[in-house]
Symmetry: C2
Subunit: 128 residues, 2 copies
Amino acid sequence: MNYSIKEFSLKTGLSAPTLRYYEKEGILPFVKRDGNGNRIYDDENFEWMDCIVALRSSGMPMAEIKHYVDSFNDGEKTIQERKQVVLNHKLRIQNEIMQLNKHLDKVNYKLALYDILEADQKKQNKKL
Amino acid sequence: MNYSIKEFSLKTGLSAPTLRYYEKEGILPFVKRDGNGNRIYDDENFEWMDCIVALRSSGMPMAEIKHYVDSFNDGEKTIQERKQVVLNHKLRIQNEIMQLNKHLDKVNYKLALYDILEADQKKQNKKL
DNA sequence: GATCCCCTTAAAGTGGACTTTAATTACTTT
DNA sequence: AAAGTAATTAAAGTCCACTTTAAGGGGATC
């Protein structure tokens, strides 16, 4: 299945300029062109993009993704290296989740304080 | 206890320019000055900053923190409003954690694929 | 009294990840 | 043939949260 940039934009949820930008940055390689030089995307491009988007939206920086893609293009000899990149990313995500849970605790503590404040206010109103 | 900007910077882990920036943005109010116009921070400032830093590092945007601080300065009548802000933030954090867990699943799946790839490579090497 | 070190302000610069603009080309529809 | 729609490129702009720079003012120390 082939897609114009507009269709691919809809399918991926990325704007057309973003797709061009990713391609220019080397993050989305192997995009074909038609006779007029217009981009034609296929399902393989989609799978690639799907993977990249997952890495991006879980906080991997562009530069690291670029590195990963470049390794990929260097073939099988880089499997170890790529696995390591993904492993590091896993640790990064786990760390982030831990941090967020800590902050969640603090926020819940604050909410508890607000509950007490509110209860006190109600008492005061009763007295009036 | 009083602190110079340098000491307070050490205590909070925020750079002196960042402290001045936060103050200018209205996020850290009530900072006193000495005779020469130099800032003097106290423990109340620290507690405030501690709370703000927790909100910031769990992803609350500056503008929202500013709003929260402004409400705080408007007194008790804004308790409901402030509680709502914190509650929204709690939901944001929970959402973020959920998203990250999804991405973690994807990453683990990818790692499993790499394990299979590696196993296959070893087999191939045995054959040679 | 020159040298440090810390402080002040306003303003300009930075980094990352896009987004927007401008100028141009090509196909399609009326 | 004119108008409309979608594509192309390079380059400039945007947003956020700082960071850095520039220009200067105390006050303690050698």
